[in-house]
Subunit: 657 residues, 3 copies
């Protein structure tokens, strides 16, 4: 495991640079990321380039055997750029130009942006080509699939639609434009969704395509940058850093053209008991799942956060070390902390780094130093990887579609994947969170929640996975929409009806109301948001509703399909409902798990080369203890312990929940 930091030499007096570099070396820092927002220093006036200061910094780190990650500084063009091209900023829904003064204002589809970005990237890449200190390139920063409403984006979207559908008739049909007299009679009428309407008020087919277009714009921008870098500075791996945002591009497609995924990892500094740490493990598993390979953390939590919101809590003692090791446990072989020292200037001065404004090492820094030691010792875990028998499927089409049309008050697409993931994790299982487009071979159990937008390939794979003996968990809102986001004219869950052995005779979007769900043994769980009232056609009823006018009707069912088993959860339950269904499914599927882990403890396993490392993380402010692979493990608050097991000494634990 490699530890690094994010560093901004341009923000500090030069006499601090060497002190910083010396302390990094002494502490065990192996990588430094630089130049992310430094365009105004690399090209202070248009066409005048100055790499001398960065050269000096690179050399200084190289002299101390610290590798360098260089960033294309394209997130923040200098003010001379905006002075010259005032319309190159993003444009808002109401046609107003985004105001500069923060960061990331440029429209990535604007010709002037492309032209000036190309020049700085070419210069920079050529300048650092062959420099052995350069370990990797980062493209831009935290690119999101924002909606820009400038005329360039409008034109580009129009062409995107034209090339996808060919004729006005085809697009009118695909979008159902006849509703509210919205049929296009000329291509000029294809416009962006201007205006501050809630997205649900607009045509959902049109809106889904618009989201896909926004994602495609980011993907295009990233690939375009990667090509320029590789052309001028070949042989260096290229990535871009993503965060788990409200406007994610389709990460599965975005990273097809890049060498590895890197992720900005900010778990809760002050997690609620049993909760936040696990939900963050979901994101780590998702990032590993993007390329089904190990990944980097490009920014790692180092202190209390502030700027975009008022200052938040400082990380509890243990979490600087624990979260970095958790990231490694889930597949992040490299972790860079954001940032070495808290900024003393600029709006983000309350986003705390490892060192405080005072530059005096404190509790967090000493914990980081301890982490560096542990990371060094974990060199032997290099050849291990995270292997999972269970998967949870995601789809960005679904993410976009549920954002466009929220189903009920409070409904969130990711709630069910998270709860299924948590249920599996709670059994000590590794879990892959992957695209619904992925091959499913090798899994014993696949959770496919809310397969909302039609995906024929995914549907086929799920059918054959089950037919061949796999266990599938399906949920509400599956098979609802066709590929255009229009409703399918067939009883729900439409294409999954045969697998599920039942159909939805009626549903009730109960929203914030709640209803009980009772299993045959009398166990009662609380559910809300949505109730499918199921009519079984061969499936076995596991649980029924305990209230409302549909009391006694089937809520959770199980059917045999081919050699496999298919569960359908017809409502949105509390966590314990998923724990119940998943534990039955895991038992039935014969997947390996670790029963009896305390609810606050997360166990993740990396294995390979005959070795197994158990990462045992106490996500709680209370001391706790548990038994892992035959050993008693006691854990201080927020402590992460690592157990090494040589493969043969361990007997596989088959489920006995």
């Amino acid at each position: 495991m490699k530890i690094g930091v994010d560093y901004y030499p341009e923000q500090w007096d030069r006499d601090l640079w060497i002190k910083d570099a010396d302390l990094m070396k002494k502490t065990g820092v192996r990588l430094v990321r630089m130049a992310e927002f430094a365009w105004c220093r690399l090209e202070p006036r248009e066409g005048e380039f100055d790499f001398s200061w960065l050269d000096e910094a690179v050399r200084m780190f190289a002299d101390r055997s610290i590798g360098v990650v260089l960033c294309t500084p394209t997130s923040c063009p200098p003010l001379w750029f905006y002075e010259k091209y005032p319309d190159a900023v993003m444009t808002e829904r109401d046609g107003q130009r985004t105001r500069t003064g923060i960061r990331g204002h440029r429209c990535i589809n604007h010709p002037a942006v492309r032209r000036c970005c190309r020049r700085i990237i070419e210069e920079m890449a050529a300048h650092y080509a062959g420099n052995p200190a350069v370990a990797a390139w980062q493209i831009d920063n935290e690119l999101e699939a924002y909606f820009c409403f400038c005329d360039h984006c409008a034109e580009r979207f129009r062409n995107w639609v034209k090339s996808r559908y060919g004729t006005l008739e085809a697009v009118n049909r695909a979008y159902g434009n006849v509703v509210w007299s919205g049929e296009y009679s000329s291509w000029e009428q294809v416009r962006l969704p201007y205006g501050h309407y809630p997205s649900a008020w607009l045509n959902p087919a049109f809106m889904l395509d618009h989201s896909r277009f926004a994602s495609d714009s980011v993907i295009d921008f990233v690939r375009w940058q990667a090509d320029i870098i590789r052309d001028r500075c070949p042989g260096i791996p290229v990535t871009t850093n993503v965060w788990f945002s409200e406007h994610m591009p389709d990460l599965y497609r975005e990273f097809e053209g890049l060498d590895f995924i890197s992720y900005d990892n900010y778990p809760s500094a002050h997690p609620a008991e049993d909760e936040a740490g696990f939900s963050h493990a979901f994101q780590l598993d998702m990032m590993r799942g993007v390329k089904r390979r190990s990944f980097w953390v490009m920014e790692q939590l180092s202190g209390g956060l502030g700027c975009w919101a008022p200052m938040g809590r400082m990380p509890e003692p243990g979490l600087i070390r624990g979260y970095a090791l958790q990231a490694f446990a889930h597949g992040a072989d490299t972790v860079l902390h954001f940032r070495w020292r808290t900024a003393n200037i600029g709006a983000e001065m309350h986003w705390h780094g490892l060192l405080d404004h005072s530059n005096v090492p404190g509790r967090r820094f000493y914990e980081f130093a301890d982490l560096c030691e542990t990371a060094e010792a974990l060199g032997e875990a290099r050849e291990t990887f995270v292997r999972a028998e269970a998967a949870v499927l995601l789809s960005f089409d679904n993410e976009y579609a549920f954002k466009i049309q929220p189903q009920t008050e409070g409904y969130s697409y990711l709630e069910q994947p998270r709860k299924l993931h948590r249920a599996l994790t709670g059994l000590g299982m590794n879990v892959d969170v992957i695209s619904s487009g992925e091959d499913l071979s090798g899994y014993r159990i696949v959770c496919a929640p809310e397969m909302y937008i039609a995906d024929n390939k995914a549907a086929k794979r799920l059918h054959s996975f089950a037919r061949e003996g796999g266990t599938v968990i399906l949920t509400v809102r599956s098979g609802v929409k066709d590929i255009h986001n229009n409703a399918v004219m067939a009883p729900l869950p439409t294409v999954y009806r045969d697998m599920v052995g039942a159909y939805v005779s009626e549903y009730d979007p109960i929203g914030r109301d709640t209803v009980g769900v009772r299993f045959a043994d009398g166990t009662l769980f609380s559910a809300g948001q949505w109730c499918d009232i199921l009519e079984t056609e061969g499936a076995e009823t596991l649980a029924v509703y305990d209230g409302e006018y549909f009391r006694g009707r089937a809520a959770v069912i199980r059917s045999r399909y081919g050699k496999g088993t298919v569960y359908y959860i017809g409502t949105v339950g509390e966590q314990a409902l998923y724990d119940r269904v998943v534990s039955e499914a895991v038992k039935g599927a014969g997947a390996a798990c670790i029963p009896g882990i305390p609810s606050s403890v997360e166990v993740t396993i990396r294995s390979g080369n005959g070795k197994k490392f158990y990462f045992v993380f106490n996500l709680s402010s209370r001391e706790t203890a548990c038994r892992i692979t035959g050993r008693q493990v006691s854990l201080a608050p927020y402590e992460m312990k690592i157990l090494k097991v040589v493969e043969k000494e361990e007997a596989a634990v088959r489920p006995n929940i």
Copy 2:
């Protein structure tokens, strides 16, 4: 009673049309409304008309003896219109044009809108003139008195003011423009209330006129359309469909020029116990009161609603049938359900129709079929009508004025009319909700809450009604403003002081605070919002305040005026306070009522031709029972039962509460 549905042939493949029409006929559908949003299919390019598809649909329904309601499609001009006249959309307060993409964007005062609307209406009306299938015309859809800020509206408003006041001196005086140096020194300075200020920050006299102007604009647009239709397609009744919105035009004036009122009726699918159904009865009574005649429901709740908000609950079993019959009980002789089948395309795809996306008849559809049978059987109730001894008065001037200047945090104009209506309904009484401008003869009891804006005719009628022996209930905020919305310089309730036998020596707008109101027998009610501290001048004190610095001062009083009785409720109480005052008033007035109805049950009576029909509706999820006209009636959850009584067998029940 006639049942119909709203249908959008343009949204479905033609092979579905005949299946739908056959099923409608079989189910008992008698009317179909069409073409409401179909402009882009009726005039696909400017000046090119295509009625062929609609002809086919009309013929198909006519062949099955299903009448047709045709709509002018003017709510949604096609995109070619907006492409050609981009400024014909409404303009927002900040001067920004409304963005298209939803519906109803056009400014109804814009010359291009008027010109293109005239053409399509003329073509359409001429085309269907003489077609016996056409049962009625609907103008546009759910027209509201929106505030448009385009230059055409600005000019029109300026002329409206000019023609109302004649001179700048007169308008400056009427508006009290001297405050904050706001006097007009030229007509150009008469502008619209641009900007995102809360309306209460602006001149209330000016703002009331602006609301009146917005209402007048709708009224003008409706009359103009009606004239065109009648000119080209004479002999067919013309209406427009209204809903109970935040921006209602003055319905009393709007419908003077139309043949009947039609209403879009969406009561709560999942009503809170004892509440929502009754509040909806208020709206039904109000719609009947607009023309004091029976009315249509042009859109009737058919399933869970979604689009403008996330999806809501599905109607409880019983409510598809119950709500339609409730509408009939309150005077809606014709009810069209919105909509036959849920849309599979477009933003409103979550606004559920009778049939689901699957097109498989389910619970709601079967209930609708049952309703159709009941409706058929109710043919004999045709000659009956809703007759009331009690009335509640409304005024759109008051509605606008209270919106402009909310009195206290949480104060709402309609709360007191609703509570008075509920108190009367709770006694099993029919209630007319009518304009304060109406003749009051025939009533025994008239509730005139919040007679805020001066209305001399109404004041005179109330005086003479009381003088002649009627019972009047007045409340806080009466006589406060002159016709311009300026405060009257006299002790409150100014013109009503003599009737009330008291004046307001002081008031306290207590808002969200509460205070007790204690009657002589010790009964205590909770009140809030507003406290008039009354100084009686002949009136009898019924209840006093039980707290605050005005403890012991008069809160509810009664006075004798001429041969009649006048109550004044000097605060805004909980429902039970109105129940108490109304039951005393009803007893005193000798009006007929049905004592002892359970609180969840609504009883409405239609009578005529020697017959009486009692509509007994259990607005609750619990079974209940009650005694109506000597018969024991037991009701399942949400059940509507209809009792027929031949007039002579029933003895009128005089109050004995």
Copy 3:
């Protein structure tokens, strides 16, 4: 003490004027403020002036020995002005012009505004020069340091920056512009903070300068007006009326050029027990502290408020008199009530005056008449003043900086000064609330909360004040920023570390979380928002944290510095925590106080010429009693009693808490 009223003759028929003036004289009114918003009547068309009506009003009052305060009507230019200069309104962050229709829309930096204001002020001042009835001039109305984004303001700001820093290098360094590539490469790039971003997202150094610029703009406008008035109408004192708003200019600098401060005083009409009245005393003390002299109340609460918010509660009986006398007790020698009669026209018609819309004197008016009598009787208190041994320091730099970067959710700069003031007031002490720039001699105890932005002079004064034997109370967030609002690179509290005898080894911005703070005697207080974890270097630990990972670490400390004592409160506690620390500090400092006052009672002392007046105010709806200077005083709800003590008869009470 002088009592006056605010009066708008232009809003009333002339036949009311004399009736009003007669009633004023009879009641004891001594001053009338006029013409504040009357520009449209003083200059009905550009360049045509009409003072005749105002002359008549001035004469009428002069005839009755009522003095007149004249206002420059510049807050509200007439509509002819906006018609001619449509761009002279303020411009919003998004570049949209402010919409007229309310008041105060003009941009005070706009050349046309300056030109037209100069003309009306010159005409008016010249017209009333030498008129003995004129007692004072008020400039404009409630000027706030609003942010205008028009091009004139942009240019003016650019020049302001240029003149402050001279070179682009200097401003880039001062602002830390390198962050996010924000360095200026030309002066044209110095722009205003356009856009609707939260202020914390923007560069805090730049933003603080922008706030200073907005304040400077007001200061310039006020001085400019004062110069014009004094030039044309010499010898009359000049003020402007301020209110305690979200956008206060730096009052200390604003009033340097004016003759006295006047304040619009609207304490809570319906105060929560023990709270609102005291917090308002803070504001009165702050206004007295602006010039460390007596001040005027230019608008005093007269009834329930409404317009900008829905109507609020009416003042409790006692408060019309009590609040005016409270203002006098805190240094307001002149109090004008806003307003004589409630407006019957215009948006502010719900902002109640002494007389209601009815023009019939009621409870509030009779209380006002009683106040006038008391005020007359207080003539003998003329030579007294408020003398304080304790001070609380404020700084507008801090006010602006905390607004720009809120520290945590719910953190407010003024919370700690208020709580310290309340703790001192609760001991019956007079308190000065003064600028951190003031001389501290004469005080025994100085509270210097949150000395956030570097102020070298203030720091030096505090050091020497303590060194010479004074008692200082410091708090969290001291010494944090340099003069540019950048973070200081030294352990907190940086420049105060030596005084405090400790440094902050770590902090945790706990926000809405809470933690206990335990004193050595076991007393436990609740704290939130912020926790400094203190490492003492000579200081004595008074209290430690009772929870979180920093349980047992120092939270409140005391150190000896020179001959003095310095307290440091390392967290934001509940009121009782400040009461505890302040009472120890007062005892230690040997300051005079009145122990044992009930928590709802405020005692304020005016002394001078051998006399002492105790103002004893029961800020509660309950009767209470207390012992003041040896006498038993019983108080009705909201009663204000005044005790007169001849100096020698009173023994100074030294603390014995």
